[in-house]
Symmetry: C3
């Protein structure tokens, strides 16, 4: 039964029932700083406002869940090469636009600090404390040769596209970021 059914029921019965919380499901597809940031800001703000929040980390986005000290991952040269080019860990993300050899990324990070905007790594910790569920994508893990021990602690069990679709179809907000 969705919260909308409950609304309808409540209208009919003139009974005041507690509404189920709204649900938000986000896809974190990118490892770019400028995309992981809005994912984590929306997730933490949503959770702080009382929404149930799930994030599905897939494709490049999976890199954001990596332990910051895991420099090279995977078990063959292709996987190891990819991990070298796309350095993982929420603290190591770079802008997808105007990175300019680090200058743009550094500038934005420093502006954020001055204005009290938390970093993606801080927001990720905050998110988990607020009950946001972080789901790593099974297929991408296989592709990259990533193992559960390569990831930070506190994640949900790995899941696939079908699980994600099921979550999304029952959510009030779904966004691919």
């Amino acid at each position: 039964m969705t919260d909308l059914d409950i609304d309808a029921q409540a209208d009919l019965d003139d009974v005041d029932v507690d509404e189920e919380p709204k649900r938000m499901v986000l896809v974190c597809w990118s490892s770019d700083l400028d995309r992981v940031w809005p994912v984590m800001i929306l997730a933490t703000t949503g959770a702080a406002s009382g929404l149930e929040v799930d994030i599905f980390f897939t494709f490049w986005g999976l890199r954001a869940l990596q332990k910051p000290d895991k420099r090279i991952t995977g078990s063959n040269w292709k996987q190891r090469g990819e991990s070298f080019m796309d350095k993982g860990g929420a603290e190591n993300l770079k802008l997808g636009k105007m990175h300019m050899g680090g200058m743009g990324t550094g500038m934005i990070k420093s502006l954020a600090k001055e204005h009290g905007v938390a970093s993606p790594a801080e927001l990720m910790e905050m998110a988990m404390e607020l009950g946001v569920r972080l789901h790593p994508c099974q297929m991408t893990m296989d592709l990259y040769g990533l193992k559960e021990e390569d990831f930070i602690d506190g994640l949900e069990p790995v899941c696939g596209a079908a699980n994600f679709i099921d979550m999304a179809a029952n959510a009030d907000i779904q966004m691919f970021i």
Copy 2:
């Protein structure tokens, strides 16, 4: 009460009530011509079809709301440097892909003109006339050092991520573009 409740109510009462309009909430995250364009085409088409439309301009996307003659904005060198690299104003947007020093952007703009497709700047004016609400993101404004006087006229009051989530959770369509 959502429009779905009204539907349910109508079914029960066998009364024909006017349906509430559908709602669309878009995030304009990018200042790339090829992303601002679909945002504005969807917004104007939606509003012309009778939907209530809100757009939340955040991160790079905030630049699309800048007055075209505001070349340098912000109050310190980092903010001013960022504003110099990412020239604001809906008339100055460039393709995120195949910009090729202006050639690709010029080509697409010229094709659009030949085929009667309005420019993002024209669509933005049209959108406001059709009642589309344009919301600048507070946090990004702080980050970039942008002030209300840097923006075109006719915008909604600045708002934050919590306001956006509230709008999105009650909309029929939400998309991050």
Copy 3:
């Protein structure tokens, strides 16, 4: 009548009616391998899980529907130039990030093959067999000078932004990818 109304109705009548299938509407905006891939994985997984799925191919994304042997399309130099730079056909897509002159794209494609992940071209065929509806965007076709004969077989009739919005407003999942 939406499936939510039916739910509400069912609750009231205490009658067990069959639920209408959930609906997913995706926008395929990009011709990058790393974006077309998630579109097609979500579409095929969704359809295989019993959802009704529609994909709206627009802007760069329209290129994914092109016949692989159509190298140059359009009727004037601008359209022909654009088609030369953004080679069409689901088999020819390149990564939007770390393409590195083909090395990155080749590496990911080869990893996918080793791990039994179907290619976008294979997924597109599978999608159509599963009943996913592929809609080319009218306005982009005009812009690029693309004709129906430039596309693969089995597509839905061309449609515009208003049709897309109508589909999206009645869907349970909408995502812009």
